[in-house]
Symmetry: C2
Subunit: 325 residues, 2 copies
Amino acid sequence: MRTQLISAFFALLISVSANAAEPLSLWQDSPARTAIIKFVTATTTSGSPDYLPPAQRVAVFDNDGTLWSEQPMYFQGFFLFDRLRELAPQHPEWATQEPYASALKGDYKKVLAGGEKSVTTLLMATHAGMTADEFSAIVDRWIHTASHPTLKHHYNELVYAPMLEVMTYLRANGYKTFIVSGGGVEFMRVFAEETYGVPPEQVIGSSIKTRFEMRDGKPVIERLPEIDFIDDGPGKPVGIARYIGRKPVIAFGNSDGDLQMLQYTTGGNGPHLGLIVHHTDAVREFIYDRQSPVGKLDKALDAAPANGWILIDMKTDWKKIYPFQ
Amino acid sequence: MRTQLISAFFALLISVSANAAEPLSLWQDSPARTAIIKFVTATTTSGSPDYLPPAQRVAVFDNDGTLWSEQPMYFQGFFLFDRLRELAPQHPEWATQEPYASALKGDYKKVLAGGEKSVTTLLMATHAGMTADEFSAIVDRWIHTASHPTLKHHYNELVYAPMLEVMTYLRANGYKTFIVSGGGVEFMRVFAEETYGVPPEQVIGSSIKTRFEMRDGKPVIERLPEIDFIDDGPGKPVGIARYIGRKPVIAFGNSDGDLQMLQYTTGGNGPHLGLIVHHTDAVREFIYDRQSPVGKLDKALDAAPANGWILIDMKTDWKKIYPFQ
């Protein structure tokens, strides 16, 4: 009892001091910052015409290119190739067999030229055929040891500090924050809680099929080499409906893969807010949009003005990009 | 700010008074009550060898027969047949076409004799071919107007008061409560928050496929006539892994459909607790187990002693069954 009283008292103090500080301090005074604060204030102030009860405060975030970087390729792609190299000694036949041979040589262009079939083959070789616990342990080791080839940081350090700040700000205002990403759900869950403060059940992503079995008297979830669900494009609203079962009121994306999630979030009645992280900073991060093979932003960029989606200009809106800067 | 301070202050008061009261007052002094309180105390008292940080406090509950009644048939079955009758005037051909004709005459035995194909046909006629919002509105109207044929109460009044008490008790101790049921996920989500205090994203169930589209400029999730996932038996651990992404430490079930969920929850290392609601009360509810076509409890009953799963004897353990009693 005493412990609970003390905890509650400290929670109260923390809540007061968090609210006293200026919100979104890593953001320049910009249309995006203004829109976020205005929206949160309007939806959380009782008596406001746009007031939302806490249950309806659902915010969704794409991951690749919205919460962390995605260049020169999706980070899960680096995991895939790192893992292939790790497994190669057990598979001497890969040295001459495609698409393994090209992948092991680092000829990613040749792998991608093989199309979906090549990519799926490599995906299954690295993501299936083990238990869910084993896969989590593999990703956990990787995320804490592997480094980005040019930025020379662990991948989960390459997250956008201003976006972490938005997530914290939203949660402090009674919002539940969900990740809705084309990335693998069990890949992201390994680091989402530590990195973003998002618990596993609030991470939605692509998945492969799994099977339950008792093995030597122990329960295991076995990962099978078959795609179950692609949480990208029109799959994102489907994934949101399936996992969350409630329409979000805030959506952050950065690419055409987020177009339908933005449409779904902002298309109905009631208060809503859609934002697009625009990669405009060649010096501190990367600059790309319509022509990029990764995180292509073209249709959603065209659709933004008519839908009232607000562009976040990384170069001018963010005081810093990564937390370590 | 003032509002937040006042809320926090009241939350503190409520937390103190809730803890001051004797927990599980609707339960007789019984092995189940003792086990629940002992487990919650052991996993939430800091310094205890079985202490679990809040993130690991995950409790899963089957729905049919565990949180609400399921006799003489699953309540979603009543919804299906009620809905068929409602739609029948628009489908004169159903009068002579099977399995519709038998279903409309109330000849459920003949429908079931038609096997999975018949049931799926009726399921799709009543659960697909509309948007997710339309379906939710239909279920919402039904749950607040339809009544159980013999018990003469709305279906969401036929919930077990002692189980509601357990859910509240667990949440007050930092547990997240999830429903993991063979029932339809979008069916249950309509009333789960109001009835059980479980938000939509903590409801896991069977689902049909859906598709996103913009229709007349408005986003809709269309329900398609195709099974997506059966959250029953070995599907339950798969559903838990997919939706929650973390192994539960407490599982409540009542039938063989919960066998694998109980195995998954209690099969590993670390503290865990499995319980089975045993329908033993012919007077206040229903009495059934091994021979029942609905909620059959046979294999899981045999497996209980060796696995340490605790039987909840509804007749002797619960002071009352339904909240209105």
